[in-house]
């Protein structure tokens, strides 16, 4: 398997050793084992939303079961329940035998603010984006580089963003002129036609979005589980056919992929 089959999880590590983890899909299980091996004592976990494919790995995240670890957890506000209460649902019967409050790590729960905030050397921004239920995208800027993460995003549902100024584009404030954009590109065009409103983008929409916000590099993210590696290669080829010739060509995200953003 060339692309991998885990659900969403990305690590962003800074030169100063800070560790940011974006989402807690099944990919976080392996990452947790690696962080434990590295002896990481502090993790900043940024959740875009609480759909299961972005949360289901948390219950198997090794640092959560280490009393010496601090987990600083961030997520979108909900009009109904607090972040902790919402996450706690997945740590309760019949879904899981261990209650969230019985996990040994020191976990703090934070609603993402509406304004930029800093953690160590990093400036973070979060913005609500078009996807069913409260969902945010993130931007992390540090050491002269920036990455934006919008794994579940259907900006086309809010109109023709290609014709809008960036202040009117969903997630525009976090993706604008970013060095690296990880963006939803789940569907081929013909698939998208049948899945309009499901909260995900077609490959052409992802490429157009990257262009509209001036992202310097696009990594296609949130692969459809029915797509084989060969189909994923076709998706990448299709993305490149839509993209301008100048700049880095779009790339599909692959499990274990490492991108160095050193300025």
């Amino acid at each position: 398997m060339r692309c991998g089959g885990n659900t969403s999880c990305v690590e962003v590590s800074l030169d100063d050793g800070s560790v940011f983890v974006l989402d807690a899909g099944t990919g976080i299980r392996e990452l947790g084992a690696e962080l434990a091996e590295r002896g990481t004592q502090k993790v900043h976990l940024l959740l875009t939303h609480l759909h299961l494919d972005h949360l289901e790995g948390l219950r198997f995240f090794a640092p959560l079961f280490d009393p010496g670890v601090e987990i600083d957890l961030w997520g979108p506000r909900s009009p109904v329940l607090g972040l902790k209460e919402r996450i706690r649902k997945s740590f309760s019967p019949p879904l899981f035998p261990i209650d969230l409050q019985d996990t040994p790590a020191k976990v703090t729960f934070n609603d993402v603010p509406n304004v930029p905030w800093t953690i160590g050397a990093a400036e973070l921004r979060a913005s609500l984006v078009v996807h069913p239920g409260p969902t945010v995208g993130y931007r992390i800027s540090a050491d002269g580089s920036s990455v934006a993460y919008l794994p579940d995003h259907e900006p086309a549902l809010a109109g023709r963003f290609e014709e809008r100024t960036r202040d009117w584009i969903s997630g525009g404030s976090i993706a604008e002129e970013v060095d690296l954009l990880l963006h939803d590109a789940q569907y081929f065009e013909e698939e998208y036609d049948e899945r309009l409103g499901w909260g995900h983008s077609s490959v052409s929409s992802a490429v157009a979005y990257a262009d509209a916000v001036g992202a310097k590099r696009l990594v296609l993210f949130h692969h459809d589980p029915t797509h084989s590696d060969d189909r994923m290669q076709e998706l990448e080829d299709e993305a490149r056919s839509f993209a301008d010739d100048d700049g880095d060509p779009p790339t599909i995200a692959r499990e274990g992929m490492v991108l160095d953003l050193s300025a």
Partner: protein, 131 residues
């Protein structure tokens, strides 16, 4: 003064919603700036949003010289946009206005506040009804 500050997702979705309505609809942000009105509102306003541009909703309302049945100026406390913005509740009122093209029109205005969270007011929507 025009603002290029990022719009809240509620505004972005409201704009798309309004863009697909045949009912004149205006969107105001939490600072009281009129940030959008749809094509259906252009007749009543007497211009496009690009022509009118962003301005405070109070300025915008004054431009139309809203009047009550007896042709007296409609007091601030009866203006639905002010009520929705200041008092954070829905309001409706019939009135006479003079559009930017100089035409006098009878309209109804319904305005209601937008909350992204219980404690996060993000603006108002005003709907104009042709009488």
């Amino acid at each position: 003064m025009p603002s290029d500050r990022p719009k809240h997702l509620v505004h972005i979705l409201a704009r798309e919603f309004a863009s697909n309505l045949a009912t004149p609809t205006l969107i105001v942000d939490a600072d009281g700036m009129l940030i959008f009105f749809n094509e259906a509102a252009e007749d009543l306003v007497g211009g496009t949003f690009a022509e009118v541009g962003e301005m405070t909703i109070a300025q915008f309302s004054d431009t139309f010289a809203p009047r009550s049945d007896n042709d007296d100026p409609l007091p601030q406390e009866r203006r639905p946009t002010r009520i929705a913005f200041e008092e954070k509740r829905a309001a409706h009122e019939e009135m006479t206005v003079t559009s930017l093209d100089g035409v006098e029109r009878q309209i109804g205005v319904t305005a209601f506040p937008l909350f992204a969270q219980k404690d996060e007011f993000v603006g108002i929507v005003a709907i104009w009804w042709r009488e």
